[in-house]
Symmetry: C2
Subunit: 137 residues, 2 copies
């Protein structure tokens, strides 16, 4: 199967247009370019939660991971001010959601020099990390 | 400020093309159409993990939430076969990631009749739910 760059971009442009057309069926769903199949969601708890400097350092570090080739999408966040409910865990300090095409993409990321550099330079900042990897069904 | 539908679609089409152009800076990032600012990530643990029927019922139920107007993106998944590491929690059974434009969008979703219907009809299936809401920074 061959796909020219032009075909690829044209298809993506059409998909992009559909995404905002207000049609519920056109929302990004897992497997779209916009929503990769493999999600890697990491939650960090800081060692010094009162340090704004540590928080900013960790956020900047996590954002640098976007440069890794197999990373398809990235969302870096902090707990949202949604309603407090018993099931909501808002005790974490930084959320990092990365999207990959597949498990191989995530495996390649784990051993990538930029990821190893991020861990080496930032792991002193956190006291706890929880990771969830989810494959679209 | 007025934006015509045509302007909106044209902009989206350009964005869509950029997303797959291979430029690291063009990857979907939080706040793009493709990656909403507010993430609502829910993990479910089934009461009867050995029941394929319960799993399928819950997955179908979660997917029905895509029809709610303020839901901008959806990813429904199961634990991925990534490397087993101490920090990875793969004990859950279903992952539901919904994207919203903002906290108000998530709040509207919580009280939406389709969401209430989903909870009413499926809560007997799960023994535990953990929710993380993350706002892009």
């Amino acid at each position: 199967m061959t796909t020219t760059r032009r075909d690829f971009i044209t298809t993506a442009a059409i998909t992009g247009a559909a995404l905002v057309a207000g049609d519920a069926l056109a929302k990004p769903v897992a497997g779209d370019n916009a929503m990769p199949k493999l999600l890697h969601h990491v939650f960090f708890w800081l060692k010094n939660p009162e340090s704004k400097e540590d928080l900013e350092k960790l956020i900047a570090g996590v954002k640098s991971l976007a440069a890794i080739e197999t990373v398809r999408s990235i969302h870096v966040g902090v707990p949202a001010s949604t309603e407090k409910r018993e099931v909501v865990d808002n005790s974490y300090h930084v959320s990092e959601l990365l999207g990959f095409d597949d498990v191989a993409g995530q495996d390649a990321y784990q051993i990538h020099p930029l990821h190893k550099k991020f861990v080496d330079e930032h792991q002193h900042l956190w006291s706890k990390v929880v990771v969830y990897d989810a494959l679209a069904v």
